[in-house]
């Protein structure tokens, strides 16, 4: 067993860590049992903790993350706060007080996680009164990654809306003006495997060259599930999301270059509505707790046919920038997927960035079909980017997920739209084609018939909503 440095609730310490030890189990072993395991896959939020992150302006953000999906070694040097660190029964934090007095806890098991997610939103530096339709600017979606089985959520929502702003004496609020701890190089050789967080891209590529089977970690929200629920183990793990080359963010005349190591929340903030398709897509991608960890590179790296980013990025005609020992190359995303969870990425290569060409098509949408309105895995997802000039579709890009072994472009449907007048007749004919695209399966999420019907309905919905003010019911 080797050791890493971690500051928990203000107490620095050197703590034992294996290559697969997660932050949740570490905290519990230290007696901080307010941090609970409810699902061990980032779906329930009972293990939420605050972690100090660079806010991009020299200060610190307190991000809420699922501790069950955080590899302890991947946060070597970090500062973490748990529910116990926010307040005590004798001196409750405002989020704790509001939850307690309003009946926001029943069995209490999910409660510390709710407290942490609420505290993160309470401490959000750009929270402004009136945002998100709330007098205090509290975004209730920040709690969509926390499950409560007892209360029905109403008192929790009331507690959230009752929160004021942190006062000057609030240590975590004050902490925001100080720099966040920087990611530090970490090399751990533990009985259960090696864990590396290399200092540079060159070091990372060398490690991958030496260990072609190494598990590449970028956010870890998928790998954590494998480790926790399926007891997956890797001989060598290499964390890369902190590398400067994977954290580029460039707005050029002809394209946007988005570093693959950004968390989705960071991208959401930095894009700030610049890409309307993605602005509508972010809230439908898992939960705030997940988006605070998950990265674009990670989502494309796992290459799941039901990942949420491919349908949107395929519609945007994006390409993937890969870096390897022989330099960098760019591959159109449409050519990136080669089979079920297979891609053109070679073992020694990393996904460095995603390029989105400009200008953007004006008519875009992301339709996600799932059982639950938020924080669910899609049965079918469709991304649209259409140019309609003078009543004629001049360009159509449609990305699909959930209908084949890989994400797909709907080439036939695109062809049936391009050059045609943007009318109901065109759309109905194209929608029938779209409904026949791919080879959808029946599984526990949806039947094949429903998936096919949803493809067809999706294009009709796009058309009718483009013709009227009717809002999508799920939005």
């Amino acid at each position: 067993m080797q050791r890493v440095n971690l500051t928990v609730n203000g107490q620095p310490g050197e703590v034992p860590a294996g290559a697969h030890t997660n932050l949740l189990n570490h905290l519990r072993a230290q007696g901080l049992t307010g941090c609970k395991e409810g699902c061990a896959e980032g779906e329930c939020g009972a293990c939420a903790v605050l972690i100090a992150r660079d806010d991009g302006q020299g200060g610190t953000r307190w991000d809420s993350v699922n501790a069950c999906l955080v590899t302890l070694a991947a946060v070597d040097g970090a500062q973490v706060v748990t529910a116990e660190g926010l307040g005590s029964p004798a001196a409750l934090h405002p989020a704790q007080r509001e939850l307690a007095v309003r009946g926001g806890s029943q069995c209490g098991y999910c409660t510390p996680g709710f407290v942490v997610s609420m505290a993160a939103e309470y401490l959000r530096p750009d929270r402004v009164d009136g945002q998100h339709g709330a007098a205090n600017g509290f975004d209730l979606h920040s709690l969509s990654g926390n499950l409560c089985r007892c209360t029905g959520y109403r008192p929790i929502a009331d507690a959230a809306y009752a929160l004021g702003t942190p006062d000057a004496a609030d240590p975590l609020a004050a902490r925001r003006d100080q720099p966040a701890p920087s990611p530090r190089p970490t090399a751990l050789n533990a009985p259960d495997g090696e864990f590396h967080r290399p200092a540079t891209l060159a070091d990372a590529l060398n490690l991958l060259a030496a260990h072609p089977d190494a598990k590449v970690l970028s956010g870890g929200t998928d790998w954590g599930v494998e480790v926790n629920l399926r007891h997956a183990r890797a001989a060598v793990t290499v964390a890369v999301d902190h590398l400067p080359e994977l954290r580029v963010f460039e707005e050029r005349a002809d394209s946007l270059l988005l570093g693959a190591g950004h968390s989705l929340s960071e991208l959401e903030r930095r894009l700030d509505g610049r890409v309307p398709l993605l602005a509508g897509w972010f809230p439908q991608f898992a939960s705030r707790l997940i988006r605070n960890s998950a990265t674009l590179g990670g989502n494309l790296g796992t290459a799941s046919p039901i990942g949420d980013s491919p349908p949107a990025l395929l519609a945007l005609d994006a390409s993937v920038r890969l870096v390897g020992p022989d330099g960098a190359r760019e591959v159109p995303l449409a050519d990136y997927f080669t089979g079920y969870r297979q891609t053109v990425r070679q073992p020694g290569e990393l996904i460095a960035a995603v390029r989105i060409p400009l200008p953007l098509s004006p008519l875009t949408a992301f339709h996600k079909i799932a059982k639950r309105r938020f924080d669910d895995i899609s049965s079918v997802a469709v991304g649209y980017a259409l140019d309609v000039r003078g009543g004629v579709v001049t360009r159509a890009r449609i990305g699909l997920g959930g209908v084949a072994a890989t994400p797909l472009r709907a080439h036939d449907t695109e062809a049936a739209l391009e050059g045609q007048p943007w009318t109901e007749a065109t759309v109905r004919a194209a929608a029938r084609l779209l409904g026949q695209t791919g080879t959808p399966l029946s599984d526990h999420r949806a039947s094949a018939a429903y998936r096919a019907a949803m493809l067809e309905q999706s294009l009709l919905k796009l058309w009718f909503e483009s013709q009227s003010a009717e809002q999508e019911v799920g939005a």
Partner: protein, 783 residues
């Protein structure tokens, strides 16, 4: 004073937060598995699960497992000194020789770490001979694979009833199950005390039964086993029977190794091993007269009991006893049978069969209303019980008028009629989105159908300094029982709530307890706590009477003061009285006991008065459905519920709201899917995690949520005039399902049946609205 009367300045009735709220929000509240990290030398247990739905175990080789570093022992049937069974029916072997479902544990590995235990479990070599399996209810019906008793509830003569009917309809209906998904999974922690006594901390709703089953597995008397439950992170019925086997495995490991043993299921294990709400199949025939009144109902209910009997028989009894819901049905013939399938052993879940029984009839009414030419709410109201009528099992419907009053109040305060018109105009204006508005009633019987369970005990101590410690037989799972019990004790003793502390539930303090279930926790334990307090107060009143120079009957206890009736200024304080009473050698502690009076039940004839009273409620829900996808949202819900005179209004409000949303999950979102194919994973639960089994999250919270408790609703014969609240509100969510049906129907021509699957997932809603959309207008309304 009688049981239901409240003194002035009572603590009961105050809206206070949960007694552990400050511990919950700070992470200081401890749950069973939080205790393990505080122990030295702890062993961790992990199961060896069957990869087949049904298979004979032909061999079990533990050699490779024992070679895994850290593995200490593998527990098998050969280790059991007592009875190798984890249930009360003798059909749940703790270590089976035939695996009965996919994931069924056939052995348990103990190791120094959870990691080692998992590796050890993977290394155990088990030989299996696969056997034919039954997975679905319909397969079980075809194979006539049933278990337990079949029961029939009958009144009148349905043949006569159908002859009198102007309209007769028939149908079939499949009702999905539900995973409890308590946030805290099953957990047990066992160690051996001095002199061979076994001490178990368990997340259990039924500590006495956990104790009894552990004792019979270990071959010990019950007196040698103590079970404690600090609190549970949710139960909902899922920890009434299921925890026993896990406690027994941990205790067996502790006795064999001498080390403390921790057993905690992770979410996957909990979902794949533990029982759920029973799926039901119903085949029905219903007759109505020309005015839409029921003339007869004939039903066959088949529940999916899973691999063992568990609580399936009483669940079926309650389902049959709730088919009527709030409606008088003159001729009834209802048959219940339990399928045996190779799945988890379905068990108690909030409502305990009541929801399924009720849903069958509400589904019938929702389906046929358009064919009877009536609005569904009008059809429902017309069939309500009138005062003086009795249920099909022969129990007079006490307070039947409450349903009428409550219904009228709810329609009024939810602006039901105005909103019906708004919904109609919205639907006329929006071809691709439709709204639905529906109202449904709930009448739910309170008491255990099993009469013997309707008893409870408590132990109340008053210490010399005047502080009060209470113990009772009920368990805390978030429902606020402990908060209510503290309020009851403070009220009965006339002391401030701050003087009362509550100690965790333990079988060595209060023995022979019933499960905390059937919504009865506060009624039963409240009666017992009050009984104990009344005894102590009588002892103290005798002392105070001497000091104050009045008759003991004229001594009043209020807010920590003791004084003669009518003279609050002439009193002494509680602490002084307690101090004096001790020195006069007065007993300052007491054991209390309560048994619900007036119950009788013939479970073979299915006749009697199994319930002390009925809880009433009604709900109005409005939904909006997207015609492209079937996606929907709940725009508004208005609930009105009868909790008697609330013991603790903030707690009760939480139960009503939480019950509704949990019911909404069952009826709209939560879908259990098993592999029904003939492939290698047949019988495997496919939705075995939070990522595949979706419970309601913030997005399902109704956008407007108005919840009220019925006022001036004193229930005589129950502690401080209150009523049970745990289960009944779950069924208020039926109005959401009916609103979805109405919205789907609005996509098509009027006057037609709109069938809707349960759960009404977006996919189910899509198929329902698509069928309506493509339907031709009904040729002849009616049958």
């Amino acid at each position: 004073m009688s049981l239901h009367e409240r003194p002035s300045a009572a603590s009961v009735g105050e809206a206070i937060p949960h007694e552990s709220a400050a511990l919950h929000v700070t992470g200081h509240a401890l749950y069973t598995d939080d205790l393990g990290v505080r122990l030295q030398n702890l062993l961790h247990a992990w199961p060896v699960g069957s990869p087949h739905a049904h298979a004979r175990v032909t061999g079990l080789d533990t050699g490779a497992a024992l070679a895994v570093p850290g593995v200490v022992r593998v527990l098998t049937a050969a280790d059991v000194p007592g009875v190798n069974d984890a249930g009360v029916k003798g059909d749940e072997p703790l270590f089976p020789t035939v695996a009965m479902y996919h994931g069924h544990p056939v052995a348990w590995v103990l190791a120094d770490s959870e990691d080692a235990a998992r590796l050890g479990a993977a290394a155990v070599q088990v030989g299996y001979e696969p056997l034919p399996s039954v997975i679905t209810v319909r397969e079980a019906i075809a194979a006539e694979a049933f278990q337990g008793a079949q029961s029939t509830l009958a009144r009148g003569d349905v043949t006569v009833g159908f002859e009198q009917a102007a309209h007769v309809f028939t149908g079939e209906f499949d009702i999905g199950g539900q995973e409890h998904f308590y946030l805290e999974t099953n957990a047990a922690l066992a160690h051996v005390d001095e002199a061979g006594q076994v001490f178990i901390q368990s997340s259990t709703q039924h500590p006495t039964e956990t104790q009894e089953i552990t004792a019979h597995v270990l071959g010990l008397p019950s007196s040698a086993v103590t079970v404690q439950c600090l609190r549970m992170g949710g139960g909902f019925g899922g920890k009434e029977m299921q925890p026993h086997g896990y406690a027994a495995v941990a205790a067996l490991g502790a006795t064999l190794t001498g080390r403390p043993v921790r057993l905690r299921l992770n979410r996957t294990l909990d979902m794949t091993q533990t029982g759920k709400r029973h799926p039901f199949h119903a085949a029905w025939k219903a007759g109505f007269d020309a005015d839409g009144r029921f003339t007869a109902l004939e039903v066959t209910l088949t529940s999916d009991g899973g691999w063992s009997l568990d609580l399936s028989e009483p669940v079926m009894a309650r389902a049959l006893c709730h088919l009527d819901n709030a409606y008088f049905i003159p001729h009834v013939h209802a048959r219940g049978r339990i399928a045996r399938t190779n799945k988890t052993s379905q068990t108690a879940f909030r409502g305990f069969g009541g929801p399924q029984g009720m849903l069958v009839t509400e589904d019938i009414l929702g389906r046929v209303a358009p064919l009877l030419g009536l609005d569904a709410h009008e059809l429902r109201q017309r069939n309500f019980y009138q005062p003086g009528e009795a249920t099909p099992y022969g129990q007079p419907v006490r307070h039947a008028e409450r349903m009428h009053d409550l219904w009228a109040q709810l329609l009024e305060r939810s602006d039901f009629r105005e909103r019906q018109a708004e919904v109609a105009s919205f639907n006329a204006a929006h071809p691709h989105r439709k709204r639905g508005l529906s109202v449904t009633p709930v009448k739910f019987g309170i008491s255990f159908n099993f009469t013997a369970y309707n008893q409870a005990g408590a132990l109340v101590h008053v210490y010399k300094d005047g502080s009060v410690l209470i113990n009772h037989g009920g368990t805390e799972m978030g429902q606020g029982l402990h908060t209510k019990m503290m309020q009851v004790a403070a009220t009965a003793l006339g002391v401030p709530l701050s003087s009362v502390r509550l100690a965790p539930t333990r079988t060595d303090k209060v023995p022979n307890t019933s499960a905390t279930a059937a919504s009865s926790g506060a009624d039963l334990n409240g009666g017992a706590v009050k009984d104990a307090c009344d005894q102590i107060r009588a002892n103290l009143a005798a002392v105070a009477a001497g000091t104050l120079g009045v008759h003991p009957d004229d001594v009043r206890f209020e807010a920590g003061r003791v004084f003669p009736l009518g003279h609050p200024e002439r009193g002494l304080d509680w602490k002084t009285l307690v101090h004096d009473a001790y020195h006069l050698r007065t007993q300052l502690w007491a054991a209390g006991f309560y048994r619900t009076p007036g119950l009788h039940w013939d479970r073979v004839a299915m006749q009697g008065e199994p319930f002390k009273y009925f809880s009433y409620g009604a709900s109005v829900t409005e939904v909006e459905v997207d015609g492209f996808t079937g996606a929907y949202r709940v725009r508004r819900a208005d609930l009105l519920h009868d909790v008697g005179d609330s013991l603790s209004p903030l707690i009760d409000l939480g139960q009503v709201e939480g019950g509704y949303v949990q019911g909404l999950g069952w009826l709209t979102l939560e879908e259990l899917r098993w592999d029904e194919s003939d492939g290698p994973n047949r019988g495997r639960l496919q939705t075995q995690s939070a990522s595949t089994y979706k419970l309601p999250s913030f997005s399902e919270l109704p956008e407007q949520f108005n919840v009220g408790l019925l006022e001036r609703a004193t229930e005589s014969g129950v502690v401080y005039g209150s009523k049970a609240v745990g289960e009944p509100p779950l069924m208020l969510a039926i109005s959401a399902r009916e609103a979805l049906r109405e919205a789907c129907a609005a996509f098509g021509p009027p006057g037609r049946i709109t069938p809707l699957n349960s759960p009404a997932t977006p996919e189910a809603v899509y198929w329902a609205l698509d069928a309506a959309r493509t339907a031709r207008p009904a040729e002849v309304p009616g049958d």
